[in-house]
Amino acid sequence: MTWEPQIFKTLHQIPREEHVFPGTPLCAGCGGLESLRLAAKVLGSRVVYVDAAGCMTNLAAFPFTPLDASWLYTTMGSAPAGAQGVRDALDVLIAKGRVPKEEDVQVVVLGGDGSTYDMALSSTSGAITRQLDFYYFCYDNEAYGNTGVQLSPATPYGARTTTSPCAVQHPAGTTQEKKDIFEIWRAHRPPYMATVSPRFPLDLEEKFARAAAYKGPKLFLAFAACPTGWLFDPAQTPDVARLAVECGLWPLKEAVNGVVVHTYWPKLTPVEEYLKLQGRFRHLFEPVVQTEAIAHIQERVHGYWARVKREEGNS
């Protein structure tokens, strides 16, 4: 069965209204910001962003904010608990008549992969278990980006970071596999989860629109191509984001009440095309080609999609 957008069928349907304005201190070509901008077109301005320590903490720097929504910076490990406090307080204050119902706002956690995949897991797991009504927006740039690109549990095998350098002991750079945070979330059975890429804007907007129908925890894992950390020209962010999906490394999918459906079937172009665009993988190609490492990445992609085909059928 092919997943079809119901609401966003053409680009013209994407709201022109902006809620994330230009002039932020984030890096040129930030793929995470692109995703957030698209997400906010559906989320709107009746939002409080509860931020975890990460690149996007720089968004609201006194006295500026690029958002027309509210903002609360918390810590690296407890943004979902901050969301809990805000949501609970709004519920209580509305129930007691101290905040009018029409003043209610959506609570959106904003976290990078370092927070999302590791440090905030406890508070995230707690929030999902309590069925907190909130969005979790993770901009995944596969490293601790704000501190200068170090290994995170989201860093993929073969990528070079400043703390997983290409070295004699481990020529591939990162030797661990990217943690599957999607499945960790899914084990909690939240009502809605999705992965998104800003190069697939209709898919992204459709997912945010669908998620709005569900009360409870809603996860969005946003691919955040990172020119600064992945070492490519900022102008190439769209190419990197598109190729990540097309080569099968960043599957676009959603899970409604735990049932996974892939929302786009990629061409499965060879992973080399994606890897070669980025300096973080250059050591896989020069001075010698690390054939085994590249094959390993390719095999894992094929393995993943073979399993998807078995489980969801060939479209």
């Binding site: 509210s70 609360l72 407890s78 406090g85 709004l90 007691k96």
Partner: protein, 411 residues
């Protein structure tokens, strides 16, 4: 109203109930757990119209507490010891948000070695985080201090969270007669929480906790926090006066016990001060002119009141129920610092470390403190830090070491 018997923990729960809090984020830890158990029951029965939520850790609990206060709710929470330290980062964070809330800490010594009984290394570790701190000696003082704490925290001149400390076991599980304030009179003392500067609503978006670039901006906000904390001295005095008028009980930032003609003074805090008072009575019966100064307010530091109370004394002994390894007693340093410029400062300052991990302070130890302090006052040179430890305690530990050796060697 008649007094009823209740534990320090139950008194703390009553403080939250009388303050009519909106939200209680919780996490259990000994010896605080009875507080949140009680509040869970009351929230469930509707006798307290608040939402009770169990978080996944104290770190999350404090974040939820601060975030809810930032949204405009009156928030109460409680923890102890390791829990307070687990939440440590968030203490600084929410104080920086300038949100009023009340956190009860039930003091318990810190690992390692892991233990359950009280000392003040937990709460004093948090002395620099920006929370105001009130330390209670009795169960009555616990419930009253929580009401005072909300009044100060929510004052526009302060806008800071307040920590109320009570000792684990010694107070948390001790039943004492407590007169509960009349809820209708509490309403006169503590107006409803309607902060104009807080809240996240659709029509009035706000950014809180934003980043700053550069030391000048950072310094500005930290200076503001410091000055707001100092405002707490004045605001506390006003609140305490109102409290006395409405409820008939007076709480000064420091309590002076038999101080009028005292030449030597013991400085203590919290429940062990009751032992100190008994020791003062015993020493006076023997003809010693001694008194006790109990610090109730630790932050802001009531320097002037302390200077005034201690000026002209022969000697002062600070009994710290805490230990900064490699330095000594934490409160000793603060007392010494605030007396430095005092022309009539005591001739000797003595530092004693006692009651760590709930270790008893015996009559003999107090007697030794009085004798050594008097000698120091006569000499004009202070002593310490003296690590209080009795011979029988020493024998007890030797016996355990002997057993450990036997078990290890099989002999």
């Amino acid at each position: 109203m008649t007094a009823e018997m209740m534990t320090g923990n139950l008194a703390a729960a009553w403080g939250a109930r009388l303050a009519d809090v909106d939200y209680v984020p919780a996490f259990p830890i000994t010896p605080q757990t009875e507080i949140v158990e009680t509040l869970a029951k009351w929230c469930g029965s509707g006798s307290l119209n608040a939402r009770f939520v169990t978080l996944d850790s104290e770190h999350s609990m404090m974040t939820a507490a601060g975030a809810a206060a930032a949204t405009g709710a009156r928030v109460f929470t409680a923890t102890s010891s390791q829990g307070l330290l687990h939440a440590f980062e968030v203490l600084y964070t929410v104080a920086g948000w300038r949100v009023p809330l009340v956190l009860v800490n039930v003091s318990r010594a810190l690992a390692s070695p892991i233990t359950l009984e009280p000392d003040h290394n937990d709460v004093l570790a948090a002395r620099d985080c920006g929370f105001l701190q009130l330390h209670a000696e009795t169960c009555q003082e616990v419930v009253d201090s929580i009401l005072l704490a909300y009044r100060i925290a929510e004052d526009a001149r302060v806008c800071l969270p307040v920590m109320v400390n009570l000792d684990g076991f010694v107070l948390s599980f001790t039943r004492e007669p407590v007169t509960l304030p009349d809820p209708e009179v509490v309403k006169q003392f503590l107006p409803p929480f309607r902060p104009a500067h807080l809240g996240f609503t659709a029509s009035a978006p706000r950014s809180l906790g934003t980043a700053v670039f550069g030391g000048a901006t950072y310094s500005y906000f930290r200076h503001q926090l410091h000055l707001a904390s100092l405002n707490g001295l004045r605001v506390y005095e006003e609140a305490a006066a109102d409290f006395e008028r409405l409820f008939g009980r007076r709480y000064d930032p420091v309590e002076q016990y038999r101080m009028d003609d005292a030449e030597d003074v013991l400085v203590m805090t919290n429940a062990f001060a009751s032992k100190g008072k008994a020791a003062v009575d015993a020493a006076r019966a023997q003809g010693r002119r001694v008194g006790l100064l109990r610090l109730r307010m630790i932050r802001p530091w009531p320097a002037e009141t302390i200077q005034h109370a201690l000026q002209g004394r022969r000697a002062v002994a600070v009994v710290d129920q805490n230990l900064s390894p490699g330095q000594g007693g934490i409160l000793f340093q603060e007392i010494a610092a605030c007396l430095y410029h005092e022309a009539l400062r005591p001739r000797a300052l003595c530092s004693f470390i006692g009651g760590l991990g709930g270790k008893n302070l015996s009559e003999g130890e107090f007697q030794a403190i009085f004798e050594q302090t008097a000698d120091a006052g006569v000499r004009g040179t202070g002593i310490g830090p003296v690590l209080l430890f009795t011979e029988s305690e020493h024998r007890e530990v030797e016996q355990l070491q002997f057993l450990a050796h036997e078990l290890k060697t099989g002999r």
